[in-house]
């Protein structure tokens, strides 16, 4: 590698260390790193802002922006609170039944919303349900966060790493759903079965308190029925737009932006109120990361990494799939999976370019998505949703520690990633 390549690698590593250790705010770290590579002339403005290979991936940015606006309208309707309370009541207040139904609602919601939003929506209602039933809330919070990370793996919009992968590899919503959906269903069933064992100590509530749960009136959670009805129609159209991408040729980012525009027009809330819900920090973080990784692509550093992996596996398809799946899971257990997948996507693209057998039906991309998405369940810092769940617990006077998380998260990540191995090998090799 050239001297400039080593400088790029040093900036990249330094920035990622700052992000991982949270010594400075992650947006400041990402934008600071991006400013350095731009200031040193490693990337030109054309390469940073207009190139599909080395620049900011605007498809990802605008898809995220559109979905954030859609969620901003939808979450104010109370529909998620309604669904969660309805599910808990359907279980008749039986702790395991409540856990299973909340897990399923969370996983389904997470397939359409990003995981952090899902947790912010379901956590308060979970605390209410546990309060009513006299159940310890922390294990329930952990279970739903694990379910959220699992459910989000199924679709293009469920987890930000999937959006990055889809954009990089040119996958449609259906491609993601057809290839990741089946294994996510298997993983979710396995997780529900595991839950009985994992959370067994937390499933002993006071049976006499079921009436207190049944007394909740979930219909009261719906704050604005007409906005909800209109929002659900628009959400249905957005989903149809995603599913028909191949036929219409309209990219998911465009579908999400059009949907968001219609949502804003139909919502009684002002655009200013809805824009306040957009996570601008996240969008800026992505932009910084894309520039940082673009610099590595530009100087050929990621090609060198791809060559190293190819030498390690000897170009063997099975070995490469396993290295990417397990390696991604282990790294994502400790490093935020968004910057990880941003950096790994060009590496996977290089590996496939060098050995097309690895790209058969997108095999290596699915290994990356499954490893990065499910590996994040292992530790408290593995996924943004985990950290958010710990924050919700803390605000409510509950303690969710790294060790406490590990007890549930590590076995879940190990089993779910292990289940992906036969799936990948049987389906793609």
């Amino acid at each position: 590698m050239t001297g400039l390549a080593w400088v790029s690698v040093a900036i990249f590593v330094g920035t990622y260390v700052l992000i991982a250790t949270e010594r400075i705010h992650r947006v400041a770290a990402a934008l600071g790193g991006a400013a350095l590579v731009l200031g040193l002339g490693i990337l030109s403005s054309d390469q940073a802002f207009y190139s599909h290979e080395t620049g900011i991936d605007w498809d990802v940015i605008f898809l995220l922006l559109g979905m954030m606006l859609v969620v901003a309208v939808l979450k104010r309707t109370g529909v998620f609170e309604y669904l969660a309370i309805r599910a808990a009541k359907l279980a008749g207040g039986r702790p395991f039944g409540v856990l299973v139904l909340l897990v399923l609602v969370t996983a389904a919601a997470s397939a359409l919303l990003d995981n952090v939003t899902t947790i912010l929506l379901v956590a308060p209602v979970t605390l209410l349900v546990c309060d009513r039933l006299g159940l310890p809330p922390v294990p329930f919070l952990v279970a739903l966060t694990l379910a959220s990370n699992i459910g989000g793996t199924a679709t293009l919009v469920g987890d930000p790493p999937n959006i990055i992968i889809a954009s990089h590899a040119g996958f449609t919503f259906n491609d993601m759903l057809v290839n990741l959906g089946p294994i996510v269903v298997v993983v979710l069933v396995a997780f529900v079965a595991m839950s009985r064992l994992l959370f067994r100590r937390s499933l002993h509530g006071d049976p006499t308190r079921a009436d207190a749960l049944l007394a909740l009136d979930e219909r009261e959670a719906i704050t604005d029925a007409s906005t909800l009805a209109r929002s659900l129609v628009v959400l249905g159209l957005i989903l149809a737009g995603f599913l028909l991408q191949r036929q219409t040729g309209v990219a998911p980012a465009i579908v999400a932006l059009i949907g968001a525009g219609i949502m804003i027009l139909l919502s009684p809330l002002t655009a200013r109120e809805l824009l306040a819900d957009v996570e601008w920090e996240t969008l800026l973080f992505f932009m910084g990361l894309f520039i940082l990784v673009g610099a590595l692509v530009q100087v050929g550093a990621l090609d060198a990494l791809a060559t190293g992996i190819a030498e390690l596996t000897g170009g063997d398809v099975v070995a490469t799939l396993l290295v990417v799946l397990i390696g991604s899971a282990v790294i994502s257990a400790f490093v935020d999976n968004i910057p990880y997948v941003t950096a790994m996507s060009p590496v996977v693209a290089s590996l496939i370019a060098a050995n097309p057998a690895l790209g058969k039906d997108g095999a290596l991309w699915w290994a990356l998505a499954l490893g990065a998405d499910l590996g994040g369940n292992a530790t408290l810092v593995g996924a943004s949703a985990n950290v958010v769940a710990a924050g919700v617990a803390s605000r409510n006077g509950l303690l969710l520690t790294f060790k406490g998380w590990l007890r549930y998260g590590l076995p879940t990540a190990a089993v779910t990633v292990a289940l992906c191995i036969p799936y990948l090998l049987l389906r793609y090799t």
Partner: protein, 146 residues
């Protein structure tokens, strides 16, 4: 018009008092908060902050959950106060650190500035180290409007 001309009587609570005492005092006095003497400082706990402690945090995070709450269980919320003390109400203050008192010589605008800066609907009037009483926001507004 100065602060000493507007004061009304107010009872002072101690941090070791039960939080239910604050609840009862607000109900009986119709004042928009209570005054607490803590570390030789008179502090105001607004009524809204007492309610904030009554409510579970998850209801504050998601007000829609307040709508699903049935009336019979709402009574149980006040029971939460029985395990708390006035010191817990002080600890839960959203804007701690700002002074909640003025001198007897303070003007109406000075009183308004203290109320606005500290987000309290009540300020304490102290003269020569002696508590004269308190002034509420509604009293102040009535005089400002004249």
């Amino acid at each position: 018009m100065h602060a000493r001309d507007l004061v009304r009587h107010v009872d002072v609570l101690d941090p070791s008092d039960l939080a239910t005492a604050a609840f009862r005092q607000i109900e009986a006095s119709r004042l928009p908060g209570v005054v607490v003497l803590s570390n030789a400082r008179h502090l105001v706990v607004p009524a809204s902050q007492v309610l904030r402690v009554v409510l579970p945090r998850y209801v504050l995070d998601d007000p829609a959950l307040g709508r699903v709450w049935d009336e019979s269980s709402a009574d149980a919320l006040v029971a939460r106060l029985r395990s708390l003390h006035v010191s817990d109400l002080l600890a839960a203050q959203e804007h701690p650190g700002r002074p909640h008192s003025v001198d007897g010589e303070a003007t109406l605008v000075e009183i308004a500035a203290v109320m606005a800066a500290a987000h309290v609907p009540l300020v304490v009037v102290i003269e020569d180290g002696v508590l004269l009483g308190a002034i509420t926001a509604s009293q102040l507004m009535a005089h400002l409007a004249r």
